[in-house]
Symmetry: C2
Subunit: 229 residues, 2 copies
């Protein structure tokens, strides 16, 4: 493998793999995507991430880096040219890490719980978690917008934008399946505007998975998750 050769073990359906792609796109470095399926997992994946056996894994000159947030930080630290993904200032960097951890905790897990819940009653507490999170993220973004910035991170896509933006397609899926907005124009005007700007960015545009294809995939995932419960 060449010195800087990059291979991403990803999956078109994976928001976590998407984070890595967006970070690599932002940095303008070449990479190859190796598509994994939910089952079976490839030998290369099992060998590269023996602990968790999960995508995404970034192979940089054959050395594996695992976990999306860690990979995005790695990319930012290795390709130090602009745009910076994490803020330069240590306090702002801590803040960005805080919100990505929050998003990891409060956005996809309740969406998955909504997906596998059997009825509206079972969905309710998970919708409440997402609703609270949307409210908090709207506040964070509004503060950034009030300073004239289009993104969470400033004038360009940063760590929080990637962290939250990677969940946008799955957000649309949950909205469409349930006939209910998670990001709402009245309650979350900044987030709704941001989502449009984010999706149109050259590092993102064309990389977000198709909603209808994801909905079909979600049916398989739901069965798989229900069986594993």
């Amino acid at each position: 493998m060449a010195k800087d050769e990059l291979k991403l073990l990803g999956g078109w359906f994976s928001p976590y793999a998407l984070r890595v792609q967006i970070a690599l796109n932002l940095k303008g470095v070449d990479y190859e995507v190796i598509e994994e399926t939910l089952n079976p997992k490839s030998e290369l994946l099992l060998k590269s991430n023996p602990v968790h056996k999960k995508i995404p894994v970034l192979l940089h000159a054959d050395k594996p880096i695992c976990e999306s947030g860690i990979i995005v930080e790695y990319i930012d630290e290795v390709w130090t040219h602009a745009p910076s993904i994490l803020p330069q200032n240590a306090y702002d960097r801590a803040n960005a890490r805080f919100w990505v951890a929050y998003i990891d905790d409060k956005w996809l897990p309740p969406m998955i719980n909504i997906l596998i819940a059997e009825d509206d009653e079972a969905k309710k507490p998970h919708f409440e978690i997402v609703e609270e999170a949307a409210g908090r993220l709207e506040e964070v973004l509004k503060k950034s917008s009030s300073e004239g910035k289009a993104f969470f991170g400033g004038d360009t896509i940063g760590f929080i934008d990637i962290g939250f933006g990677s969940f946008l397609s799955w957000t649309r899926v949950i909205e469409k399946i349930n006939g209910r907005k998670l990001l709402d124009e009245t309650k979350h005007p900044s987030l709704v505007q941001w989502a449009e700007t984010f999706a149109a960015h050259p590092a993102v545009n064309g990389f977000l998975p198709e909603i209808d294809k994801l909905i079909e995939f979600s049916k398989i995932l739901k069965l798989k998750l229900a069986a594993a419960k």
Copy 2:
């Protein structure tokens, strides 16, 4: 508050607050600890960490930083003098972050589940998680030991050492309550040796909570967690 004044909202029982203390001790910077109790939470804590309402919070010239791993990285980034807590090399840094995330996931949560489990049958799957984790961490440390290094991070305490070492006292508590070793001299000789070296380090010695006091505390915690279930 003075420009560099540091206040740690902590609790003597909290392994996460201990991480921050060890990091500050390593850097040799002065700080004040403000002891929080489980209940009620102080106004200062609620104001400083309104999202999670949890310790630890580091107040650096009044600005709050939350979440132990994020705080430790912040400390390393602000006080850049030796010793470095995270490795200098980006790949090693990704690796350190990976193992701390692993420890956060696979060590304290199963120990808490063991604490609140009602009988041996209920404890079993959680002991298995801890056992697998101990095996994996022994392998990681053995690799470092084979290169003549005393710690996970090298010759001095690093990010993984702090991440895992902060759980040592609680590990002893679970061992003592259950009459069963989690870190075993035969299976985990490197970890057992490391635990001694870690506990004797000047940045750690005198900061680990007393086991018997923690056992008394664990009884209150158990009731509280059982009630919240």
